[in-house]
Amino acid sequence: MLAARLPGLVVHAERIAATVAAGQHGRRRAGPGETFWQYRPAQPGEPVTRIDWRQSARSHRAYVRETEAEIAQTVYLWCDLSPSMAWSSSQGGNLPQKRDRAILLLLALATLLENGGERVRLLTSEGPADLPPGAGRIATRMALSLSTLADRPQRRIPAAGVLPRFAKLVIAGDFLGDEAELTHGLRHLAARPVPTQLLQIVDPAERDLPYAGRVRFVGTEDEGEVILPHVEALRPDYGTIFSERQERLRAMVDGSGHTLLTHFTDQSPAMTLLALSGSVSGQSGGGR
C-alpha cells in the first residue's frame, strides 16, 4: 500500500525540491567548503600551502583562497503514520492522502537539506533510523526506510529521550490525537531542548465538512460513530470548532518554543516546502 506509492512520491519530491532549490543560498561566510568564497591577503604565519599562487601572481601580495563555510547540521524527520493520516476526502484521487502529502513534503525537505549540505536522519520510536544504502539519493533511501516503518505501530509524537540536545526536528502529522498527549510531548521536546518544526497536514474536507444530508460518520481509529442529520446546516458550527482547535494548537506550539506550519492537501506542496525549508534552515547556523 504505502510501498506502492513511494516511488511516485520520491520522484515528485525530488522535482519540487529541485524547484524550491532555486532559492537556496549558502552560509555567506568563509569556512571549509567547496564553493569559492573570497580571496583574502595571507596573514603572517599562515601555512604556505594555503596561498593561492595563481591569484597572488597578479599582484604584489600573497592571497589565500577561502571557500564558503559548510556547517552540517543534523535534521531529524518524523512522520505520523497513524491510520488517520491514511485518508483523503476525495475518492477519485484528486486529493492525495494526508500521509502521502506528509511523506512527499518530508522527502522533498530531505532532498533539499541534503543538497544544502545538511545531514538528514529519519526518526522512529526507537531512535534515529539507519537509512538503508542501496541507492544514492537521500529521498530514495528515506522512502525505503519509511516503507519498513509503516508496518510497525508508531507513536504520534517522538519521545524526546531518543534525540540529542539541540537537534532539529520536523514532525509531520495531522495532530488529531489526544491534545493532552500532544501537549505533553511538545513540552518534553522543548525541555530537551529540541526546537521542533511542526507540519500539520489537513485535508480540506476536515476544514470545510463538505457533506450534506444524513450522514453516519466513523473514525479511522475505532472511535465509534456519530450520526448527524442535515450536516450542511451544521457546517458553520463545525468551522468555529475547527478554528478554535487550530488556535489552541498554535498557542500550545508557540508556548513551547516550536513553530507550526499548516498545509492543506489542496495547496501546492512547493509553496509549503519553501516555507518549511526557510523555517528549518533559518534557525540553523549555530554550532553543532
Binding site: 510501498a3 571549509p32 552540517a72 543534523t74 488517520s84 485518508w87 475518492q91 477519485g92 494526508k98 541534503e114 545531514r119 536522519r121 534515529p128 539507519d130 538503508p132 544504502p133 542501496g134 541507492a135 544514492g136 540529542p164 495531522d174 488529531l176 485535508d203 474536507a205 476536515e206 457533506y211 450534506a212 444530508g213 444524513r214 450522514v215 453516519r216 460518520f217 466513523v218 473514525g219 479511522t220 472511535e223 465509534g224 460513530e225 456519530v226 450520526i227 448527524l228 442529520p229 442535515h230 450536516v231 446546516a233 451544521l234 458550527d237 463545525y238 470548532i241 475547527f242 482547535r245 553543532r288
Partner: protein
C-alpha cells in the same frame, strides 16, 4: 388474461406489509469516514428527524413490486381467435420447402395461431409438413411416415422445431401419405393447406402437384392459405444460362455470374446480390432490378478477374434461403497456368516470360518452374517459351500430359526455327528416317510437340535486306477461339516461323497474317491440344506482345482450355458443407449422403443431397438449388384461398412486466441515493446497489423467460471469486548474505574492540561520502574474518594492522585467493613504527606512533603474494580514478603510500594492495550522529576532505580497475578512428 401460476398472485397480500416496512425503516444514512470525528462530537444538531420517504417513492415501490408479482405469475394474453372451418380433427398441411423461407415467420405465426385455436376448441390435429413428410427431420420423431391425430400441443412442439428445409416440397410423397390416411378412414373435419404457391418443378412435377391436390380434396373441403410477404427468388448459375443457348455475345455475358429467377409480378423489384469470399466477407454488392412482368434478370458482378475468382458464394440480401444462395465450385475458379521458366526468363522487356507474366497474371493462377515440377501439379495450361522443350525426356512427359488433356501453348523463337534448320540441313537418311518413323508410327504432334510441320527457316519481313513489309493481322475467323476480338492495325509481325503448306493448314490456323500465313496454329493430341504462336513472346519478332490483343488472346486460350480435370464420372463425392433452409453454410446433416460427380447439375436438392459443397478440396463441386430450377411457376390453388391476416398466436407479457418493474426499481435506487444527500460516493454505494439490482433483474428475467416451465431452479448468480494476487515479491531468503545483494566494503576484524569500531565507523563514513559524491552505491560495511567468512563478495578490504596480529594459514590462503581474484586490500598500520628502521624520505613529524607495527605488518603479510611495491606518485591510476590527488593523507598527513609497481602484467596492472600508515579509518570515521570523532593531524578540514577523496579514489579503483588508465588513450583512439 390467463395466469400460468395464479397462486403467486397471493403475494399481493404482502403489499401492505411492504408499505409498513418502508415507513418504519427510513433509508439508512450514508457512511462517511472522517478522521476528526472528535470534533464532530461537539456539534449539537438542532433537528433530528427520522426522515420519512415521500409518498411518491412509496407508490413507486409498490407499483414496482406489483408489476413484479404479476410478471412472475406468468400472464398469458390469448391471441386473436381464428375461425377454424368445420368440426372434428383438423388436417394442417404446411409447405416448408425451400420456397417457404421467404415468408417463414408469417407462416410460422399463422400455423401457431391455428394450433392455438385448435387447442382452445379442443380439436385433434393431423400435422403434415410437405418437405419433411418422410420424417427426415429427426428432431421431431412424432411426425414419421404415418399420419396420426395428435393433441395440438404436440403439433406445436413439432412446429417449434421446424425450420424451412433447403430442398423442395415432396408433394408426391405427401399425396401418398394422404391417400393412406384416407384409406385408413380417419375422420377429417377440415383441411387447412398453407401453401408456398410455387408449382413443383422438374420432371413429373405437374403430376405430383395434381396427385397432391386430388388427395387433399378427397379428404374434405380445402382452405388454402397463401402468403404474400415475399416472392421466392432463385439464383441460377450463369454457366447454365449461357450454355442453354440464350442470346448474348461474349462481351455482353462477361461479368455475369448468375441469373435471378422469380415469379413475375406487376411491379419492378429491386434486389441486392452480395458476392462473398470464402471467409464470408463481401466482395461485391450488385443492385439488380427485376422489371415488371419479367421472371428473371441477369446478375452482373463487376469485379477484377482476380477478385472474381475469389467469389465463393452469391446471396440475395433480405432473402435468407437456400434458393437465394448460390455456391461456386472449382469450375468457376481461375485456371492454373504453368510457365516453364528458363534462365533469365523474367528479365524486364527482353526476358521470355516478361510479357506472359503481365498478360496472364491478373486472370490466371500462374505457376512457374521447370517442366518437371510444373507437371507434378494440376495444371490446365502450360506455356512453353522458346527453347524450354529442348530436352527429349521433358518433351516426352509434356506430350503425355497433353495427351491426358492439357493444353500446351508454345512460342516460336530461335530454337524452334533452328530446329527446323537442323532438320533441313541434314538431307540424308537420318532426318528422312526420323520423319518416316514419325509419320509412320506415331503422331507427328507427339514427336515434335508442334501443331504443324514448320518450314526450315524463320521468315524475315521488312528488314533492311528484304523487300517485304511487316505484316498486320487478318480478322479472326468464326471458328477461332479469338473470334470477336478486334485487331488493332498497329500490330505488325516482322519475323515468324512458317508452316509447311499443306491442305489442312487452314483448319489448324486460329490466326493469320494478312498474307495468309498462319500466326497461331493448333492441333489436338489425345484429349489435349497444342497451340503454337509463330512469333516469340517478346517484342523482338513482332509487337504483338506489346498490345492488348495479346492479353485477350491468351485469356481466350486459357478459357478455351479444358480446365482442371474435375471428375465427371461416377465417383461419389461426400458432402462437406451444406446449406440449411436459411441459406447458412454448416456441417452436413446426418442423413446427407454423397452424390456421384456426374449427377451434379441435374440432381435436385433432396434430404439425401442438400444443397452445398461436395467432394474434396481439389475437386469440389457445388450442388445448388438453381442447378435444376430454371423458372418458377405459380401453382394452381388447391382450395379456397384465404389471407393469413388476423392469425396471431398467444403472447406472454411476463418478461415485459418484469423489465418495467426493474426499471422502476432502479429509478427508486437513484432517487434513494439522491435523498441520502449528494451523490458524493456514488462510485462506492451506487455501483453496488445498481449491480445488485441488475443481478436480481437478470435472475428474474431468466425465470420469467421460462414461464411455461417455472419449475426450473432459479440459479443464483454468484460471480466467480477473483483470485487474490499472491503477496509481494518473495523476499530474499535468509540464507543469502547481505553483501551478495549490495556492494559493501569490509574490514578485517582484529579483535581489538576500539580498532574494530573505528574501522566500522570509518568505512561507514567513507561509504556515505562515496554514496553522496559518486554514482557508486555502497551498503553498510561488514567486519570479516578471513579464512572464516567468505570474502568473495567484497571489492575492498580494509585491514588495520595491530601489533598483536596473528596470521593463520587459513587466513593467508583466503586473502591470497581474494587478491588473486581481483580483490583489493588496504593495509593500514595506523601510524609509524618509530622503533623500526625506515627510510628517511618519508620523515614526517606529524605521524602518530604505532610501536611494533612494522614487525606486525611483516608478520601479517607473510605468505601473501604481495607484488613488488612502489611509492604512490601522481602518475598512478589511483590518483585520478575520481579526484585528481597529489597527497593522500589519512589521520596523519605526508606519509607515503605503497602500491604494486606498474608494468607487472598480473591482475590487469591493478594493484591488489594499498599499504600505508596514514590511519585512514580514523579520518573517515563518522559516529551515529554524523559527527567525526577524531581530529586529523596536523588538522584542518582540507586534510579530512583529502582523506575522504583518497578513500573515494581507492573505492573507485577497486570497483573499476584500470578503466581510468585506459581512458587516457581515448583521445588517441578517437583520433585514429577519425582518419
Amino acid at each position: 388474461m390467463i395466469f400460468h401460476s395464479p397462486a403467486l398472485l397471493a403475494a399481493f397480500a404482502l403489499l401492505p406489509a411492504i408499505w409498513w416496512l418502508l415507513r418504519a425503516r427510513p433509508p439508512a444514512p450514508r457512511t462517511q469516514v472522517f478522521p476528526p470525528i472528535a470534533l464532530l462530537r461537539r456539534l449539537k444538531p438542532e433537528q433530528n428527524d427520522a426522515s420519512t420517504p415521500p409518498l411518491w417513492l412509496l407508490l413507486l415501490r409498490i407499483i414496482a413490486v406489483g408489476l413484479l408479482i404479476i410478471g412472475l405469475a406468468g400472464p398469458v394474453l390469448p391471441g386473436q381467435p381464428v375461425a377454424l372451418p368445420g368440426t372434428g380433427t383438423l388436417l394442417l398441411v404446411l409447405d416448408d420447402g425451400l420456397m417457404s423461407a421467404a415468408d417463414w415467420s408469417e407462416r410460422n405465426n399463422a400455423a401457431h395461431a391455428i394450433l392455438d385455436a385448435a387447442a382452445h376448441d379442443g380439436r385433434q390435429v393431423i400435422f403434415l409438413r410437405t418437405a419433411h413428410s418422410d420424417g427426415s427431420d429427426t428432431t421431431s420423431g412424432s411426425n414419421g411416415a404415418e399420419l396420426k391425430a395428435v393433441a395440438p400441443e404436440r403439433a406445436t412442439a413439432v412446429l417449434d422445431a421446424t425450420r424451412p428445409a433447403p430442398w423442395g416440397d415432396n408433394r408426391l410423397h405427401a399425396a401418398e401419405l394422404l391417400r393412406t390416411l384416407a384409406k385408413a378412414g380417419t375422420p377429417v373435419g377440415a383441411v387447412l393447406y398453407m401453401s408456398d404457391g410455387i408449382a413443383s418443378g422438374g420432371v413429373g412435377g405437374g403430376q405430383a402437384d395434381a396427385a397432391f391436390a386430388g388427395a387433399l380434396r378427397s379428404l374434405g373441403p380445402v382452405q388454402e392459405i397463401r402468403f404474400h410477404a415475399g416472392e421466392p427468388v432463385v439464383l441460377v448459375s450463369a454457366r447454365g444460362a449461357t450454355s442453354s443457348g440464350a442470346a448474348g455475345s461474349g462481351a455482353e455475358t462477361s461479368g455475369v455470374m448468375a441469373r435471378l429467377v422469380t415469379v413475375p409480378v406487376a411491379t419492378p423489384r429491386g434486389m441486392r446480390v452480395r458476392a462473398h469470399s470464402q471467409d464470408g466477407g463481401t466482395l461485391a454488392l450488385t443492385e439488380v432490378t427485376i422489371p415488371a412482368g419479367e421472371e428473371s434478370v441477369v446478375v452482373p458482378v463487376t469485379l477484377p478477374s482476380a477478385m472474381r475468382n475469389r467469389v465463393d458464394m452469391l446471396s440475395v440480401d433480405g432473402f435468407p434461403s437456400a434458393a437465394a444462395t448460390m455456391l461456386l465450385d472449382e469450375g468457376d475458379r481461375l485456371r492454373p497456368v504453368g510457365l516453364i521458366s528458363t534462365g533469365a526468363s523474367d528479365t524486364p522487356l527482353v526476358g521470355s516470360l516478361f510479357y506472359l507474366h503481365r498478360a496472364l497474371g491478373p486472370t490466371a493462377d500462374l505457376r512457374e518452374g521447370t517442366a518437371a515440377s510444373l507437371l507434378s501439379q494440376p495444371l490446365s495450361v502450360l506455356v512453353a517459351p522458346d527453347g524450354s522443350l529442348a530436352d527429349a525426356d521433358t518433351r516426352h512427359r509434356v506430350a503425355e500430359w497433353v495427351h491426358n488433356g492439357g493444353t500446351l501453348i508454345r512460342f516460336a523463337g530461335r530454337t524452334v526455327a533452328g530446329h527446323a534448320d537442323d532438320a533441313s540441313d541434314q538431307p540424308d537418311m537420318d532426318a528422312g528416317q526420323t520423319d518416316a518413323s514419325v509419320t509412320g508410327g506415331r503422331n507427328p504432334v507427339e514427336a515434335s510437340l508442334l501443331p504443324v510441320p514448320l518450314m526450315p527457316a524463320a521468315r524475315q519481313l521488312g528488314g533492311t535486306m528484304s523487300w517485304g513489309k511487316p505484316q498486320t493481322l487478318e480478322p479472326f475467323a468464326a471458328d477461332s477461339p479469338f473470334h470477336g476480338l478486334t485487331v488493332p492495325q498497329d500490330v505488325t509481325v516482322s519475323r515468324q516461323v512458317l508452316a509447311h503448306p499443306s491442305a489442312d493448314l487452314p483448319a489448324h490456323s486460329w490466326a493469320r497474317l494478312t498474307d495468309g500465313t498462319p500466326l497461331v496454329t493448333h492441333a489436338g493430341y489425345g484429349k489435349g491440344e497444342v497451340v503454337l504462336f509463330h512469333v516469340t513472346p517478346t517484342a523482338d519478332w513482332s509487337n504483338l506482345p506489346l498490345s492488348g490483343l495479346f492479353v485477350d488472346m491468351l485469356d481466350r486460350l486459357v478459357e478455351h482450355a479444358a480446365g482442371v480435370d474435375a471428375p465427371a464420372d461416377e465417383a461419389v463425392l461426400p458432402p462437406v458443407l451444406t446449406l440449411d433452409g436459411d441459406g447458412a453454410l454448416g456441417a452436413p446433416p446426418p442423413f446427407a449422403r454423397g452424390l456421384a460427380a456426374s449427377r451434379f447439375g441435374t440432381e435436385p436438392p433432396s434430404p439425401e443431397h442438400p444443397p452445398g459443397l461436395y467432394g474434396s478440396r481439389a475437386s469440389r463441386r457445388a450442388l445448388n438449388v438453381g442447378d435444376t430450377v430454371r423458372h418458377l411457376t405459380v401453382a394452381e390453388p388447391v382450395g379456397t384461398v384465404t389471407d393469413p391476416a388476423g392469425h396471431r398466436p398467444d403472447r406472454f407479457p411476463g418478461p415485459a412486466l418484469l423489465a418495467a418493474a426493474l426499471i422502476l426499481l432502479s429509478l427508486d435506487a437513484c432517487f434513494t441515493l439522491l435523498l441520502r444527500g449528494l451523490p458524493f460516493s456514488w462510485r462506492r454505494v451506487g455501483r453496488r446497489n445498481v449491480v445488485s439490482v441488475f443481478l436480481i433483474g437478470g435472475t428474474l428475467l431468466a425465470v420469467s423467460g421460462s414461464v411455461p416451465a417455472l419449475a426450473q431452479g432459479t440459479g443464483v448468480v454468484s460471480p466467480p471469486r477473483p483470485d487474490l494476487p499472491a503477496g509481494g515479491p518473495p523476499a530474499a531468503s535468509p540464507g543469502v548474505p547481505g553483501a551478495a545483494l549490495e556492494t559493501r566494503l569490509a574490514y578485517v576484524v582484529t579483535g581489538n574492540e576500539e580498532t574494530d569500531a573505528v574501522s566500522r565507523e570509518g568505512l561507514q563514513g567513507l561509504s556515505g561520502y562515496v554514496n553522496a559524491r559518486t554514482s557508486a552505491v555502497l551498503g553498510h560495511p561488514d567486519g570479516v574474518r578471513p579464512g572464516i567468512d567468505d570474502l568473495s563478495y567484497y571489492p575492498l578490504l580494509y585491514w588495520p594492522i595491530v601489533p598483536g596480529v596473528r596470521s593463520t594459514p587459513a587466513m593467508t590462503s583466503a586473502l591470497t585467493s581474494f587478491m588473486e581474484h581481483g580483490g583489493m586490500i588496504i593495509i593500514d598500520t595506523q601510524g609509524v613504527d618509530g622503533t623500526a628502521s625506515r627510510g628517511d624520505d618519508d620523515a614526517s613529524g606529524s605521524a602518530g606512533e604505532a610501536p611494533g607495527s612494522a614487525v606486525a605488518l611483516r608478520r601479517a603479510t607473510e605468505g601473501l603474494p604481495v607484488p613488488p611495491l612502489t611509492k604512490l606518485n601522481d602518475h598512478h591510476v589511483l590518483t585520478h580514478t575520481f579526484y585528481l590527488l597529489h597527497e593522500f593523507p589519512g589521520r596523519y598527513a605526508g606519509l607515503p603510500v605503497w602500491v604494486a609497481r606498474e608494468g607487472e602484467a598480473e591482475n590487469d596492472d591493478v594493484s591488489p594492495v594499498i599499504i600505508g600508515a596514514s590511519d585512514w579509518a580514523h579520518a573517515w570515521a563518522v559516529d551515529e550522529n554524523g559527527d567525526t570523532r577524531f581530529a586529523v593531524i596536523p588538522g584542518g578540514d582540507d586534510q579530512r576532505r583529502m582523506a575522504y577523496r583518497f578513500g573515494v579514489n581507492a573505492v573507485i579503483y577497486a570497483l573499476t580497475g584500470n578503466y581510468k588508465a585506459d581512458q587516457v588513450h581515448v583521445p588517441a583512439i578517437l583520433r585514429r578512428l577519425g582518419q
